[in-house]
């Protein structure tokens, strides 16, 4: 299959790649670039494990073709901590026990980051609804919500 030239900016690094048009952004991130922190849970856009941030918006990367992401700025879970400092959302997931097996965690953290960046003033009810695109099978969501609310609070007060 013919490969197409694609330029992706992932976590600040430029990647000039040749990829088949049938490859999803998820496959490009994991298999071509080698960033395996983003997870594949369903490949149908239903579980949110593959959530990354593309130009500021949370997207399920299994639903995006790699070629269509060319020229876009992408942040994955690996790009969240800076200078050895965890992002407040990552720290909040640790503090509250907001993860168990951890497989959905990168997706949850990225989805939460996009939501908190957009509006940290959401109520618990609003966060619960807004995170409805991500599935966690271990926690029952109670501690995930605690984490997101803690991070939102911190981001609200520090900005």
């Amino acid at each position: 299959m013919t490969k197409h030239p694609v330029s992706l900016k992932v976590n600040g690094d430029e990647h000039d790649l040749l990829i088949e048009p049938r490859k999803t952004l998820l496959a490009v991130l994991r298999d071509t670039i080698g960033l395996t922190g983003t997870k594949e849970g369903c490949s149908t856009g239903d579980c949110g494990a593959c959530t990354v941030i593309v130009d500021g918006k949370a997207v399920t990367s299994c639903m995006v073709l790699g070629v269509t992401a060319s020229g876009k700025e992408i942040t994955t879970i690996e790009g969240l901590a800076s200078d050895g400092e965890l992002h407040p959302i990552q720290q909040a997931f640790i503090d509250t026990g907001g993860y168990q097996c951890g497989f959905c965690t990168p997706g949850f953290i990225m989805a939460s980051k996009a939501l908190v960046d957009e509006n940290p003033d959401r109520t618990e009810e609003e966060f619960r609804f807004a995170l409805g695109g991500n599935i966690c099978r271990c926690t029952g969501y109670t501690k995930i919500l605690e984490a997101v609310l803690q991070a939102a609070e911190e981001i609200r007060t520090s900005s």
């Binding site: 490859k23 983003t38 239903d46 997931f93 509250t96 168990q100 097996c101 099978r137 271990c138 501690k143």
Partner: protein, 767 residues
């Protein structure tokens, strides 16, 4: 609450940073150089004879490196179907190719010719003589025929008297139960204590119902995956996402005839298991076979659709249950007849039917349970396997009895609960368990005693019991020259168990928690460890860890006595140093100094070893209360409050324990309200998250967890296994709450809105 400094504390987990940064390596993250992508070819029919398998077109596709079928399995154990497929999605062959998409293309090019056979997917249909047979014509007798046949056998063997008249009578009676000859039976189990007929006769109230519980999928977020690499010397390395690497090692050895020492299984971080991640043939064996054939590493990774078609979910079942009680609230007898949907192979958790007895003093019990073949994949464990189903039936019916008697459901349960020293129906006597404490705790926390409900609102309560398992394990702990400690073991972390082990060792060695690190070895390097399932890990590995730390402490004190020139009796290990208790001024030596000193001694470094297999476990209770509101027009049930208490023995890490309670409760909620694997004429019809709905954060409020601690005599610090109990009562909790809200007893899960609307209509609502 306790004098401990590390155990009993809400400490961050040892794997915290790797889990929140994406660094944790799961099965599909393993990518050895030259790796190929495997794909399993699956049956397109739920029941069919296979006429031919033609791989020639697939072989010609560029990039295809290996194709395997059952012919490649040396032991003959069924990995791929050969002459007949028994369910939609059953594996027939597998391919390995240089790219995942090429592998998929190749799989589609393999031509299978089928002769389609009639399908049976309902257990109550499958037991009938008219049903198609999956495995020959074997039949079993139902409970009445069994007991009559037993009497006939007894009378026939009587040499002294002529019983022929009585035998004839019994034979005639046997005929009456001709519909009790069951077909397609995979297994059966029977338990009896006391005399149920007598118990029912003495009862004022006898209630009889049939409960139907659907097959549900564990739905761990990481699909099954395996990466195998067979080298030219015959050594096989398998990166496996599994709950039990040692079981996978022996499973591969047995299936493929490879010596144990030639197989190294490296357990990768597990993306959820819940009991469903022990299977060896689902991905591991195909990956090894493909790698052996292709001479390159191969990854076999299931899609979510494949998980639903060919995972090993929890069995559904039909339970007929009958309970008798006196009008003052004493339960006298309970009888159950259960048919468990074991799918194409045996293995459903039919033994758990006994859990309908609950934690109550029921003098007369009779249980008959059968596993029934259907055209579905086989089943596996799912969090307290079999208990949620049986307890749903038992606890739902209990509420109906309480209502008929006019007793409060919590008081009714408290009154009938077993107490320490009571005899247990299955034998032995009851240990000290916080049954009543746990139920009282949830009632108090939920505000049960002064509960209020508006129209269409209701409250439900249920309890469920489970006892953690136990198994062999080994742990090493070393103390280093900087005073840190390192743990080495072979058990898979099941969401927090590595943390519990670390806390226990830090506690005993008095090393700061952050200075104790834990490493899991592969099966080549680590001591044997039992699989991480059955809530065994904290109990087993916690005890093992304690032994290892105590062994290290012995060496530490020995070294300190030598170094400080004193007797061990004068020494105390505290705050990372050994102190002479009697010294004035105080005299001490740090663990780091002792570890450095140990290197120049004849006795050698500080290494503690713990090895443990089993001690009797103590049952645990989970008690839950839900408040719901049912919309009578749409049938939708909204949870207003969900409170879960659990007797955990001792919470080594309360944050992790709460997480288990919350997560298990929500899985139970989902089984009650939304989850169901559905089957059409040709197999599963909802193999994805759009049609198989699991709950999201939008479906539920916060789950409130209440920890109750009645120590288990043999648990580390009194701890019990905590993972499984919380799912056991929730199915009934929800059904009882819906009943209280709108007066509908749902006997067939899940409690979908359309079912509620239909039932309300039949009850005259909106008429």
């Amino acid at each position: 609450m306790s004098d401990y400094s590390v155990v009993g504390k809400k400490l961050p987990r040892v794997d915290a940073v790797e889990k929140v940064t994406g660094a944790a390596q799961y099965g599909a993250d393993v990518h050895p150089a030259g790796m190929l992508y495997g794909k399993i070819v699956r049956s397109k029919h739920a029941h069919a004879n296979i006429l031919s398998i033609d791989t020639s077109e697939a072989e010609k596709l560029p990039g295809v490196r290996a194709i395997i079928t059952q012919d490649d399995v040396p032991s003959g154990r069924r990995v791929f179907a050969t002459d007949k497929v028994l369910y939609l999605g059953e594996p027939l062959a597998a391919v390995a190719a240089t790219d995942a998409d090429v592998a998929e293309e190749a799989a589609e090019l393999i031509k299978i010719e089928y002769e389609v056979l009639p399908v049976v997917q309902d257990v109550m249909e499958s037991i009938k003589s008219s049903a198609p047979r999956l495995h020959g014509d074997e039949t079993k007798d139902g409970p009445n025929r069994r007991s009559i046949s037993a009497k006939i056998k007894e009378l026939s063997s009587d040499q002294e008297d002529d019983n022929s008249d009585e035998i004839r009578k019994l034979e005639a009676e046997l005929e009456k139960y001709s519909d009790e000859v069951y077909y397609n039976i995979s297994a059966e189990t029977h338990n009896e204590a006391g005399d149920v007929e007598k118990g029912f006769a003495e009862s004022d109230i006898v209630v009889e119902d049939t409960y139907v519980i659907p097959r549900v999928h564990q739905t761990y977020m990481e699909p099954h995956v395996s990466v195998a690499s067979a080298d030219s010397s015959g050594k096989v390395t398998v990166w496996a996402s599994t709950q039990g690497p040692f079981a996978i090692r022996s499973g591969i050895a047995g299936t493929l005839g490879i010596p144990l020492t030639q197989i190294n299984v490296i357990g990768t971080t597990m993306g959820g298991g819940f009991g469903g991640r022990f299977g060896v043939i689902i991905t591991h064996v195909p990956a090894v076979l493909l790698s052996q054939k292709a001479g390159r590493p191969v990854r076999v990774q299931m899609t979510r659709e494949e998980e639903f078609l060919d995972g090993r979910p929890a069995p559904g079942c039909v339970i007929k249950i009958k309970t008798g009680a006196t009008k003052d609230g004493h339960i006298l007898a309970r009888q159950a007849l259960a048919f468990w949907d074991s799918g194409s192979v045996s293995g459903a958790s039919i033994g758990s039917t006994i859990r309908v007895r609950g934690v109550y003093k029921i003098p007369n019990i009779k249980i008959d349970a059968y596993g029934v073949h259907t055209n579905k994949s086989g089943t596996a464990a799912y969090r307290a396997p079999g208990a949620p189903q049986a307890i749903f039936a038992g606890e739902s019916q209990l509420d109906d009895i309480a209502e008929q008697i006019g007793m409060d459901p919590v008081k009714f349960r408290l009154m009938n609960m077993r107490e320490e020293g009571d005899s247990v129906p299955a034998g032995g006597s009851e240990p000290k368990v916080g049954y009543k404490e746990t139920l009282e705790a949830v009632a108090d926390a939920a505000g049960w005693w002064d509960r209020e409900a508006d129209d269409n609102q209701g409250w439900g309560v249920a309890v469920g019991d489970w006892t953690n398992g136990c198994g062999p394990g080994g742990v090493y702990v070393s103390v280093h020259e900087d005073g840190s400690a390192r743990i080495f073991h072979g058990s898979m972390d099941i969401t927090g168990t590595d943390t519990a082990i670390t806390q226990i060792i830090a506690e005993i060695l008095t090393v700061p928690y952050e200075n104790v690190t834990i490493r899991r070895g592969d099966t080549d390097s680590a001591p044997y460890s039992t699989g991480s399932g059955g809530s065994v890990v904290t109990f087993t590995m916690g005890n093992t860890a304690k032994l290892a730390a105590e062994d290290a402490r012995r060496r530490i004190l020995e070294l300190a006595a030598e170094r400080l020139n004193t007797n061990e009796d004068n020494l105390e290990l505290k705050d990372g140093a050994v102190h002479i208790v009697t010294a004035d001024p105080p005299k001490s030596i740090s663990l780091g100094e002792l570890a450095a000193y140990s290197l120049s001694t004849t006795g050698g470094p500080i290494v503690g070893k713990g090895s443990f297999a089993r001690q009797p476990s103590t049952p645990a209770l989970a008690a839950q209360i839900a408040k719901v509101e049912v919309d009578p027009d749409t049938g939708r049930t909204r949870v207003l409050k969900l409170v879960a208490s659990q007797d955990v023995g001792f919470a080594i890490n309360p944050m992790a324990v709460e997480g288990q309670i919350e997560g298990g409760t929500v899985q139970g909620y989902a089984w009650a309200m939304m989850e169901e694997m559905q089957y059409g004429e040709n197999g599963n019809i909802n193999p994805g998250f759009v049609d198989y709905r699991v709950p999201t954060s939008a479906d539920l409020p916060t789950v409130e967890s209440v920890i109750v601690e009645v120590p288990a005599p043999n648990g580390p610090y009194g701890a019990k296994g905590v993972g499984e109990p919380p799912i056991t009562p929730t199915l009934a909790t929800m059904a009882n709450a819906v009943k209280d809200a709108v007066g509908i007893r749902v006997t067939e899960l899940p409690i979908k809105p359309e079912k509620v609307v239909e039932a309300l209509k039949n009850n005259g609502h909106g008429a």
